[in-house]
Subunit: 380 residues, 2 copies
């Protein structure tokens, strides 16, 4: 089975760490930098597969915690894995569930062996270990699996972050072993990415990155950022961490972020991003565009017969006006959130595609500050 490999095509010659590459997987190539729409519960909320395809999505996410609870491993196995279940033929990345255990579930109890938690749905008790989250990700059949980690909150003290990080490092090793000792269920290679943690402590981030790099994975994730810390800290630690990661492996900044965050992440050497923002904001009537953000509920759009974004090729922009989409939100028709989510996903994928083009063109340094300016304004 074809392993996951990465070709670095170009790095910005003008001083930033922005880079363009291609991740090769047995389910097709992923051109980086890339944004990965989040399909938490086996669906990118409000965005059917046809619109993900039209948007040029090359990889989507699934959430192990949610999928483990519903539909559950047995259903996933009976259906031949997540790709067949949600009709997505291209690569899928799954997180390990660790983040949701610590953010969503109640009464969790962490031990060196694993974590006990209660389902946020029905309060039932469950136990995640490095080994059984790999088992679940085998049932899912994701192309990129993630290790189980503990994600420290922000702020946290050095002692907590250090202890947490040690657990995360041990769990990474156990996940790697579990992968080596098991086989994919559906005939496709499944890569494993570990997660660099260490909160906002340079010594811990360096230790975490070096330890994981020594273990040799097919790619590396940066976790524990975008968890409430000030944005400058997020940028600082992204920048700091990528310096310790190998140039010939893809780098994934987990859970990031706004369009400006993504551009700043690219400038700091990140290749892969995921965030619920395009769909969550879409459901709340907040739309992204090449001219900045807009809240489509605004009275100014009542009679506006232009599309959300003149240059966008999404179904919403090709078909409907701002006036109409505003009306849908006003009367609370589900087509409103659907169209807004479709559009925002298109926008995010357009943004990273543009970024890639400018990196390859050698025009990143001149393009990127202006685009940050446009997309970086406070959302309405």
């Amino acid at each position: 089975m074809q392993k996951l490999t990465f070709d670095l095509l170009k790095t910005d010659p003008d001083g930033s760490k922005a880079r363009a590459g291609v991740i090769h997987t047995s389910r097709g190539d992923i051109e980086t930098p890339i944004f990965m729409p989040v399909g938490t519960r086996a669906t990118v909320r409000g965005v059917p597969e046809r619109d993900l395809q039209a948007a040029g999505a090359q990889i989507i996410l699934g959430n192990t915690y949610h999928l483990y609870l519903r539909p559950g491993n047995e259903v996933l196995k009976s259906q031949g894995g997540l790709h067949r279940f949600n009709a997505w033929p291209k690569p899928i990345l799954t997180d390990s569930g660790g983040y949701q255990v610590f953010s969503l579930s109640e009464l969790r109890k962490l031990t060196p062996d694993g974590v006990t938690f209660r389902s946020h749905i029905d309060g039932s008790s469950h136990y995640f270990t490095p080994e059984n989250v790999i088992e679940t990700q085998r049932a899912i059949g994701s192309d990129i699996m993630m290790v189980l980690d503990e994600c420290p909150p922000h702020p946290c003290d050095h002692l907590y972050a250090k202890k947490s990080n040690e657990i995360t490092m041990k769990w990474a090793k156990r996940c790697q072993t579990a992968v080596q000792n098991s086989e994919p269920l559906y005939g496709h290679h499944q890569a494993l990415f570990p997660i660099v943690q260490g909160s906002v402590f340079r010594d811990l981030r360096e230790y975490s990155a070096k330890t994981l790099v020594d273990m040799e994975f097919e790619g590396y994730a940066i976790g524990g950022l975008s968890v409430g810390e000030p944005i400058p800290l997020m940028y600082e630690f992204t920048d700091f961490t990528t310096d310790f990661l190998p140039v010939n492996k893809p780098r994934y900044l987990m859970g990031v972020g706004t369009p400006a965050n993504i551009l700043e992440g690219i400038a700091r050497g990140v290749d892969m991003f995921d965030c619920v923002m395009p769909t969550r904001n879409g459901r709340n009537a907040t739309l992204f565009s090449r001219n900045g953000g807009m809240n489509i509920r605004g009275a100014r759009y009542i009679n506006d017969s232009s599309p959300i974004d003149e240059d966008c090729t999404c179904y919403a922009c090709r078909t409907y006006s701002r006036s109409y989409i505003r009306h849908l939100f006003t009367v609370q028709e589900m087509l409103g959130p659907m169209l807004a989510s479709i559009h925002n996903i298109h926008f995010y994928l357009w943004l990273v595609k543009e970024a890639r083009k400018h990196i390859l063109d050698g025009t990143w340094a001149t393009w990127y500050p202006g685009m940050v300016e446009i997309v970086g304004g406070k959302l309405p």
Copy 2:
């Protein structure tokens, strides 16, 4: 401007009144019998225009009461009418708003001149007259407008039904005059259909039908049925009423109904139907199919990898399994109601298309009882 005309192509030779025809409008032909998806608030709930097109929808509905309240006549006019607003290039029929005034709004006061009511949204006071509902339908730009009528509840006594019917007849005349004295706003002819009322009283139904036929309209609707009366009465009065309607004009049975109701309506000489059932039931996980109904929440579908309906060509059936759609409903993801609504609209349009084919083939009499049997079972 091209008026609305009707070509009767064939009537069932085996004794029923089932008939196949074509309604010609300036926005294209409508092959009858036809089902018209209901787009109450300028959207068929959960079903974008692309899926209406794929389902073969030839005409959709809009609701004057709802559109008058939101987005309102001024927005509709600023956007060039409903067709441009909701991106639907084919014919649209609008009811007059009368039914919603009597079923949804509060504190209504009926006088011979019109009806005062309070909005169900914000309690604001409004006044509908035969003249101003035509004005609103001019703002909407529907291809088929309906007269303002009073729809008696079921049961009601003969005296009430008679008085109500007299108001409806006078309002029909005033609507006709209002149409003659006004012009379409968007360069397309707008036909006007009156509504035969009379509750379940034969003398009143006959009087109503004859009065309206003498006034010469481009088509005729049958109202006041499917309002809570026993199904046999609905069939009886549909049958009774169509005998008084001209053969060379389309006939529309308002608000009907289940798949079985539609087949029985066709057998009694009706050409046009509308109902919220496919979308409303879809949102509640009830799916129609060529093999009968199903509630997709059922445990039996947990591992069912087949589509809702093997022979259906809708996006849901071509793309997703029962297992997946069940999961979407279980986790309350909006893609579930969307896919279910898309499928059910496809089913309804398939059903009337099949009916038409069998009428034209001369096989209606052998096909129809079996199909009523299949679709007529109580829904799960």
